[in-house]
Subunit: 335 residues, 2 copies
Amino acid sequence: MVTINDVATAAGVAPSTVSYVISGKRSISPKTRRLVEESIRKLGYHPHAGARALASSKTNVLALVVPLRTDLNVAVVMEFVASAVTAARAHDHDLLLLTKDEGPAALQRVASSAIADALMVMDVEAADPRVPMLIALDLPVVLIGVPDHPAGLSCVDLDFTAAGSACVAHLADLGHRSVALIGPSPAVYRRGTSYATRFLRGFDDAAKSHDIRATNRPCAHSYEAVSACLDDLLTADPDLTGLVVHNEAVLPGLLSDLRHRGLRVPEDISVVAVCPDSMAEQHPVRLTTVAIPAEEVGAQAVEMTMRRLAGHTTPEVRLLGPRLTRRDSTAAPRT
Amino acid sequence: MVTINDVATAAGVAPSTVSYVISGKRSISPKTRRLVEESIRKLGYHPHAGARALASSKTNVLALVVPLRTDLNVAVVMEFVASAVTAARAHDHDLLLLTKDEGPAALQRVASSAIADALMVMDVEAADPRVPMLIALDLPVVLIGVPDHPAGLSCVDLDFTAAGSACVAHLADLGHRSVALIGPSPAVYRRGTSYATRFLRGFDDAAKSHDIRATNRPCAHSYEAVSACLDDLLTADPDLTGLVVHNEAVLPGLLSDLRHRGLRVPEDISVVAVCPDSMAEQHPVRLTTVAIPAEEVGAQAVEMTMRRLAGHTTPEVRLLGPRLTRRDSTAAPRT
DNA sequence: TGCCATTGTCGATGCGCTTCGACAGCGGCG
DNA sequence: CGCCGCTGTCGAAGCGCATCGACAATGGCA
């Protein structure tokens, strides 16, 4: 293994000088800098991460806690993770992956073992048991999602309330008078995942203010569940002309079932989906969507984390404005 | 921060004794052990990861390199990652996530900074530029996928050749005489991803040995591509009765399009999909599948890695046998 | 009873790095 | 010309732990 001493010897300087060349924390003459940098390159020197962590109390590692369950969109999680990793690397940090399954204890462990410099936590529930622990932790923490009591924690998320409203507003503007929300699986609501509730609130509020009929129904992933869900909604209101789908996993089944029932999209029924833009084009009808900006959320989360690490201590809550893209799955209802 | 010294003082022993209690590398009297363990618990002691890494040259971290591209199934990658994280934790290791985008240099960096004890690399191409570098690395390395020249590296993967054969055999056994393979997107082949080629080989071999007509065609993700692909295949052979789909992303579009054409599954055409079992039930017709055992591959990869870390130096290549589950999308062709 | 092997514990050392105080050299100023 | 304040470099200390050799205490055996 190549150490800082090897580099120092090769360059004919003291080890501390090499350290200062690398960190830039003291001024170095151009000549010395060149000498040292050359030796580093020539020897292929990389500082030992453990030694560095020990001496400086910084690991240059960010820990990310992700949910593993499958009743929640895998593609979104993956997109988020990808973007977080990339953003972290851009700030010269690595990404350690933890799972929600490990519970609060894992967070303790990571914090007190000095494995990571900061925590990012996905899939935060309204009354998440991890929140009080995270607050006590005295590491920078950024939540993806917004719990009921974020206290001193930073949060970032799509503004789901606004997203719910945007979907309804779009349909209302097209002239629809009766719409339904097909929500996440019942398990998501049961868990108290806050985005589901927030979206529903936005949906209901907008329906009220636009004075249109609105119902909603959670829906599990299986084809049977989707089919039953549609049965319910269409029976309850045969005049239903607009569907808001806040559940990416059911989209294929749903569209297929609609066609099977002889309902054309968008002629007979309009569909607005809440999903990543990348999914919009994978269906026979290009979907009008409110995008889930997983990539942007990931980048923002990292950026907020880096700000905290840089000393900005005031927590922030960032809610990203929804972006609705009209494609081919929505139209004015037939009169 | 609580250090080993604090624990030692609290327990009235030397720091080294505490260390030995934790590592179990020397015998300790029951009395002392109890005393120390109690102090550890009481103080909430967790060894400092950096210090430990420095002193022992072990990080208890596994690095996993994943592909970020989206032309390859995200769900499979995610499932794999999830299983790897879980398995790693079961062995008291953490998982560091790297992306394929960072290229070979990132592997160098991780190795020579002693950030991780071993590397697991997904999405290995036939002539992957990372392979020679990995061989030179002198860290334990486990590849997910099989390159042309694995030299001294361990590999684990589904036996895609056998999987391709199994699909054809199943259709042939049902009485089909003409089948087609809808493969991954052209980009996957272009990249030289070995599983695509291996699957195709198994498919062709089995077709030959069962003496049935077989064609194949790569297919991109968009609905248009799927539709064009079906046009081609059905034009080329109107008597086509069996489809093998080695491309999870196109399944929804494909099934939808088949129905649109008036082709019923399985009455008019049988479909065998290669995908995770979890996807089989999400479609109107429950799909006969050869499972992509991402979870098992992840667990095996970690297990192989741990074996290497434990001193088993001989590399192994493990190919998991394919498992075909018959569901509702395959049947005998109408005569 | 005396010796040796075993068991259990302790101190000291060093892993590779960052960081702090010290200080030599130098130019600018009065 | 002499002093001061920079700039650039060095040496030493210490981060928290694992590990090695040393060694006291103990028990078994002759």
